[in-house]
């Protein structure tokens, strides 16, 4: 189902990229709510959408039925589609009801969906209106997680980009401060924070914050490191407020993490000795942990279906530190700017593809017969049945994989399916 496919060569990128526009087999940006609502503990995510949207989040969340989750869907019905005035009134009513029920909520995101966008329901106006109404107890922001605008992890980008203007302005003479951008599991943040402390970088904040009331100040004194590759819009918003990005690899694996910390150390003028002392223990632990997986992974070929945009940094890590051979590295969207350091380090013979035409990609994958395939939940079991070994890509988004102390676990995620296939005699 190829609407168009082309091999393009970008000026700033010396390698060809296969671009496809056919059927995509990926989640929409609403999915990010599943991890974002765990991260920002006083925020509520209200999707304005359809029963499909509600069903998507519930299916992606799987068994994670929390006491009463901090997300919900305002499901539009026939009569909401009749006239826009009604839809706005209805939305106000739903929000009133929700906030009455959940008085602990401080930040409410109205999350746009395909249906709300197609009927042009203006959620940014609604957010302003509702913010005024419920201030100061609750702030109301909006972003789009719709499938026509966002793919999977782009929902997090849209959410964080919406959050940037909400952060206070830092003092004009404030000293240089560091912002780590991208939702990370708390345990990873804590590991990172310890290393920043050892480096002597004191003013470090994480974005998004764990509570919306602890929003870090942002301004020209802000230097930021992105921890996730899919945060293009967020980075742009931060830059508009004068913050400056420290270009680096994504902190995956021993090398990626070292490079990432180095970018901060350089910006703070930290000497090589201090850097070594701060980094060495974690780096050594990571190397030891990785060496345990090298035999299982060395020389194994790997094929990535597009999913989270984490594919290029993952391929870099697996190739560089574990000797794997990426055949195709699919990504839903290739952010050339944020990933420039990553792309330089990717093996030259791997095909980089952007977008998707799932049937054609399956054809290529079958022909390449990779040792392991990274793909979404819709494809994994059918490919296993065909005799392939797979790794569900969504686990790479839901698990702690960043930094030194998760590097071994990250390698383990790829080694386990291979080990299992080797073990089974059924």
């Amino acid at each position: 189902m190829t609407q168009s496919a082309s091999i393009a060569s970008c000026d700033d990128l010396a390698r060809p990229v296969l671009r496809e526009r056919g059927q995509r087999e990926v989640f929409c940006g609403l999915t990010g709510i599943v991890w974002l609502h765990r991260k920002i503990q006083d925020a509520f995510f209200l999707v304005v959408g359809s029963r499909t949207c509600a069903h998507l989040i519930q299916s992606a969340a799987g068994v994670m039925v929390f006491a009463e989750p901090r997300f919900a869907t305002a499901i539009m019905e026939e009569r909401d589609l009749a006239g826009l005035a009604d839809a706005n009134e209805e939305l106000d009513r739903v929000v009133d009801k929700l906030l009455e029920r959940r008085p602990e909520i401080r930040l409410l995101f109205l999350v746009g969906s395909c249906p709300s966008e197609v009927i042009k329901l203006d959620l940014s106006r609604a957010a302003q209106r509702l913010s005024k109404k419920h201030s100061p107890a609750v702030r109301v922001l909006n972003y789009s997680g719709s499938g026509i605008e966002t793919t999977f992890t782009q929902g997090e980008d849209a959410c964080l980009a919406a959050l940037v203007p909400d952060a206070p302005q830092s003092e004009a003479d404030a000293p240089q401060s560091l912002l780590v951008v991208g939702a990370l599991p708390d345990i990873v943040e804590d590991q990172f924070a310890r290393i920043f402390a050892d480096l002597g970088i004191k003013d470090v904040a994480f974005f998004p914050p764990r509570r919306s009331t602890q929003m870090p100040a942002i301004g020209p004194n802000t230097r930021f490191l992105i921890a996730q590759p899919f945060l293009g819009d967020t980075a742009r918003m931060l830059e508009e407020r004068g913050a400056r990005r420290l270009p680096a690899l994504i902190p995956l694996g021993a090398e990626g993490t070292t490079h990432w910390f180095k970018a901060a150390a350089d910006a703070w003028g930290i000497d090589a000795g201090t850097f070594q002392r701060a980094i060495a223990p974690g780096r050594d632990r990571a190397k030891r942990a990785l060496s345990r997986h090298r035999d299982a992974l060395q020389g194994k070929s790997i094929f990535f279906f597009p999913d989270s945009q984490l594919e290029p940094p993952l391929a870099r890590f697996l190739a560089q530190e574990l000797g794997m051979r990426p055949i195709e590295i699919g990504t839903p969207y290739l952010n050339r700017d944020l990933l420039s350091a990553e792309l330089e380090q990717l093996p030259a013979d791997a095909l980089l593809s952007e977008g998707q035409d799932v049937d054609l990609q399956l054809d290529r994958c079958r022909a390449a017969r990779p040792d392991i395939i990274v793909c979404g939940l819709g494809l994994a079991n059918p490919l296993e049945r065909e005799g392939f070994t797979t790794k569900w890509s969504i686990e790479l988004v839901f698990s702690p994989i960043h930094g030194f102390d998760c590097a071994g676990d990250l390698a383990g995620l790829f080694a386990r399916p291979l080990a299992r296939r080797a073990m089974l005699r059924v």
Binding site: E25, Q58, V65, A74, E117, V118
Partner: protein, 508 residues
């Protein structure tokens, strides 16, 4: 707009997918944005299907809107036909595509494909999954089965169709096997079972049967009615869940087919009656059970619970309003008010207020029960991966009755063990916090479940301590009774005496 936390049913196009995926040789081209492809994982992960659902999504994006979404749809249809070579195709729109009004039916017709192409009109903003499955099956049957019945030779065995089973159905796979077996015992041939495992060619043969057996009214009723009207095929409507219902089913089939049910009834291999009469089951007597699910499963479960296990049905409900009337009628049999709701929070509130000793529900109620620390067994969709067991595990027929006994009784504390827990409740090793030995994790009840319920009534520390000595599986009831007793008498504080006064007051 309706505020929804969890939904019992997906959108109607997921129902259509359940029909298409259950069948062979049907392909579904769905005009939908990329996120809607999540539905594939319901089949590949939850049901562990080894093939991708036969669905092509157009995955249009914002930049396509207003320019070439129609062209996109046509290309998708053409490519899907070329690649998958289906015998029949269904085409339709998801909620978003419904708004952009590209007319998938008209576009597909214009392609003039050499196979039947059915346009589906599934209003996403009004209807839900079961309705979508029902409508899809009906449209397929209507379009494909339109022919005269093939005359059969005199003296041929009676034959019937089995209607309603789909992909992702709760135990549909095994129910069909079990019902085929029952029909075999009666000397009746199965002409076609559909939609599950049927091809479009099979649907063409539907009129050849003498009658229909409707297993899942939520999905097959509309098609069954049409077949009845068009081909005069009578329909067996007893859902054979439970021993009594299985016997009734056999009798109804025998009557319609004109065969003798005696041999089939006598062959009854069900262990349920003896398991239920044996002394260990004494403790099941009057267990207060709350039942919720799709209407057919919930109604059937209530009968089994009450007549075959000796439970007390304290609540009965369903999430599909389409069958509210039937559920209300059943609820009056047990003297309870029916809960008709697709609002998860409302169902949770009803369960919390009733404090039943067992919940028979869906995956949603399983989660509610876990939180409230009430034993639960799943009896209906929506289901999760553990509801698709590797073993043969039907709900229907004689074997189904055995399965029901095991799966409903298992979550409860076993009879003898319950006595021991009561006798030795103060023993330091054999206390209730250790939990029943056969239940997973031996988990003590979570603190939340022990916390005071709604009232402003306070408990003295002595009364709280006394309450904690009561075995956990009746503690909720004891707390509720004491609080009700106190509030009815305007007592602000519960002392040990209040607790025992309430106990004697509510002891039947």
């Amino acid at each position: 707009m309706k505020l929804t936390v969890w939904t019992y049913e997906g959108p109607p196009h997921v129902g259509a997918m359940r029909v298409a995926t259950g069948m062979k040789g049907v392909h579904y081209v769905l005009h939908a944005p990329q996120g809607d492809t999540y539905a594939d994982l319901l089949f590949t992960m939850i049901e562990r299907r080894s093939e991708r659902p036969p669905v092509t999504y157009t995955t249009f994006q914002a930049r396509d809107l207003g320019t070439d979404t129609a062209e996109l749809f046509k290309n998708a249809c053409r490519d899907a036909y070329t690649r998958f070579q289906p015998e029949a195709m269904i085409v339709g729109a998801s909620c978003t595509a419904e708004l952009i009004q590209d007319d998938p039916g008209g576009l597909a017709r214009a392609l003039d494909l050499p196979i039947p192409v059915l346009p589906l009109d599934l209003p996403s903003y009004q209807r839900k999954e079961n309705w979508g499955a029902s409508e899809t099956f009906y449209q397929l049957v209507r379009t494909l089965a339109a022919k005269q019945a093939t005359p059969r030779p005199d003296g041929a065995r009676p034959s019937c169709n089995i209607l309603g089973a789909t992909a992702l159905g709760f135990r549909h796979r095994d129910d069909v096997v079990e019902v085929r077996r029952l029909l075999g015992l009666l000397g009746i041939d199965v002409n076609v079972a559909a939609p599950l495992d049927a091809t479009p060619a099979d649907l063409r043969r539907l009129p050849d049967a003498d009658f229909n057996v409707l297993l899942y009214p939520e999905i097959g009723d509309v098609a069954a009615r049409w077949l009845e009207k068009t081909y005069g095929q009578p329909c067996v409507r007893t859902v054979p869940i439970g021993l009594g219902a299985t016997r009734d089913f056999i009798a109804e089939v025998a009557k319609i087919a004109g065969v003798d049910p005696a041999a089939a009834l006598e062959s009854d291999p069900s262990r349920l009656p003896w398991w239920s009469r044996s002394v260990d089951s004494n403790y099941l007597t009057g267990k207060r059970v709350f039942i919720f699910g799709d209407a057919s499963h919930a109604i059937a479960a209530a009968r089994v619970a009450s007549e075959e296990l000796g439970f007390e049905v304290v609540g009965l409900g369903a999430y599909n309003r389409e069958m509210a009337r039937e559920v209300r009628a059943a609820a009056t049999l047990y003297g309870v008010e029916a809960t008709i709701s697709d609002d998860y929070l409302e169902v949770e509130a009803v369960i919390a207020a009733l404090q039943p000793e067992l919940v028979l529900g869906t995956q949603m109620e399983r989660h509610i029960s876990k939180r409230l620390n009430i034993p639960c067994a799943v009896i209906s969709a929506p289901a999760h991966v553990q509801d698709f067991p590797a073993r043969y595990s039907p709900q229907m027929g004689f074997e189904g009755a055995n399965v029901l006994f095991d799966t409903w009784v298992h979550p409860l504390v076993m009879g003898l063990e319950e006595h021991l827990l009561t006798m030795f409740r103060d023993d330091f090793e054999f206390n209730d916090a250790a939990g029943p030995s056969h239940l997973a994790a031996h988990a003590p009840p979570p603190a939340a479940a022990l916390a005071a319920s709604v009232s402003e009534i306070t408990w003295t520390p002595e009364a709280e301590a006394e309450l904690s000595k009561i075995p956990f599986f009746v503690r909720g009831k004891a707390r509720r009774n004491a609080e009700r007793f106190a509030s009815e008498r305007g007592l602000p504080t519960i002392h040990i005496e209040t607790l025992y006064d309430a106990k004697s007051h509510y002891t039947k």
